[in-house]
Amino acid sequence: MKKDVAIKVTNMTKWFKYYSDKANTMKERLVRGWKKNKNEVHTVLKSIDLEIKKGETVALIGVNGSGKSTLLKLMTKIIFPNKGRVTTYGKLTSLLELGAGFHPDFTGRENIYFNAAIFGLTKKEIDERLDKIIEFSELGEFIDSPVRTYSSGMYMRLAFAVAINVDADILLIDEILAVGDQHFQDKCFAKLEELAKSDMTIVIVSHSLDAVKRLCNRGIWIHEGEVRMDGECEKVIDEYIKECA
């Protein structure tokens, strides 16, 4: 293991089985006997090799269904490869969904604890970040009202404020750059830029190419489960736009 590698993907293949008629219930299983479900295998990622270095900010781009999000999920260890390996070095946080674990009946402040705890933070670590999170969310006095009384914008702002303050070594982001009003979006973007300049490793899946272009220094274009192009972000995006147009 080289010290400067953050994420290493070696010869990794992932396929999903699609059951054309899956026996979901016990009854169906019994009626049909225990024979195998008919299924079709759909290979989403085909022997991918990637190495992402510490401190890089990487954009994963590609058309819908090309396997970008699947790759991100594999890096997060939400799903596991069928072949090959995905290894990550350091504390990893993924922002695939904002507000995971929020409970509507609890206050914003309590939900900060719930949400941050899911990312593996301890009580002490959350205490230290609490003021920063509340300030970033701009919720003010509403922080002590139950989350169910929040508007959807307030909800997202709180969720993003928690997620962005987790301080991981590796941050995986899936298409969540558009949060809240213009003012808050700018703020989030500024925060991401700040993080990108630090030695945090960031991988972003996004279709907002302009934003990504400003943020990332490396682009990886995934096409039909394979790496089509890998290099400087602007070049990759330009090629991608050419192809799509």
Partner: protein, 259 residues
């Protein structure tokens, strides 16, 4: 060892989960958390009224305390199994979107039941005092009995929660199985009632028969629980726990895809 390190890292998640389970469940109701104690008490009342009629003249001294010693621990088990079996499927959203050690969910189901039980022990103690039975030093064995019950419950929850992801029928079957087990455990009646009948073997095989017996030893009969059985149970429980945990780890790989 890596498992324990990771669980320790995520301890706050475990803690908030338990808190959410206990306080969140009844948050909207008027009586709040009290409901988790009122429910078993109401249950006890019903049994205490109805069952003496069914016992065919056999009387058990201090029957009220006798069944409370069985029902309160049983409530913990039922709660753990009900919440535990669906803990993975109900948190599908989290499983699909966030990485965390999956075993936290089953562990927190059993733990919140455990916390609930600890508070409910006050009810047992109150009844022990007011029915004139009293409290003796024997309750120092409570932690040991609880550990054994915790291990068995956790093992079962690991098993059912993981299988429930693949076969959704488990959560419906579990209802019936718990009900069946309730009557196969000497909660409402003493195990001695079946001495010499062909059903006596059930109590030999049912770990909860030993557990209820042990709870009764310390709260009701004021004697030292059978240590040989308890330690034996602990050993068997740990073994089952390890097997169920390994199965859980194997099945967890495809949780996000199957939910």
């Amino acid at each position: 060892m890596k498992v324990f390190k990771e669980l320790y890292q995520y301890r706050e998640f475990l803690f908030t989960n338990v808190k959410k389970d206990i306080r969140g469940k009844y948050k909207a109701s008027f009586l709040g958390v009290l409901w988790s104690f009122i429910n078993p008490l109401l249950q006890v009342t019903v049994y205490a009224i109805v069952f003496p009629y069914l016992m065919r003249g056999q009387t058990i001294p201090n029957y009220l305390l006798f069944i409370i010693c069985g029902i309160i621990p049983w409530t913990w088990f039922t709660m753990s199994m009900m919440n535990g079996t669906t803990c993975i499927t109900n948190n599908g959203n989290l499983i699909k979107k966030v990485y965390f050690p999956r075993e936290i969910l089953p562990i927190s189901s059993v733990t919140s039941g455990c916390v609930n039980f600890l508070i409910s022990c006050l009810i047992i103690l109150l009844f022990a005092i007011f029915t004139g039975s009293g409290i003796t030093w024997h309750i120092i064995f409570l932690p040991l009995i609880m550990i054994v019950q915790y291990i068995f419950s956790l093992a079962l929850v690991f098993l059912t929660s993981a299988i429930n992801v693949y076969i959704k029928d488990v959560e419906y079957m579990i209802n019936f199985i718990i009900n069946l087990l309730f009557y196969a455990t000497p909660i409402l009646y003493p195990a001695s009632m079946f001495d010499g009948t062909k059903f006596a073997f059930i109590f030999k095989l049912n770990p909860f028969a030993y557990l209820v017996e042990a709870y009764r030893n310390i709260f009701y009969a004021h004697e030292i629980p059978g240590m040989k059985q308890l330690l034996g149970l602990l050993g068997v429980g740990l073994l089952i726990l390890i097997v169920c945990y390994m199965l859980f780890k194997k099945l967890e790989k495809r949780f996000a895809e199957e939910i």
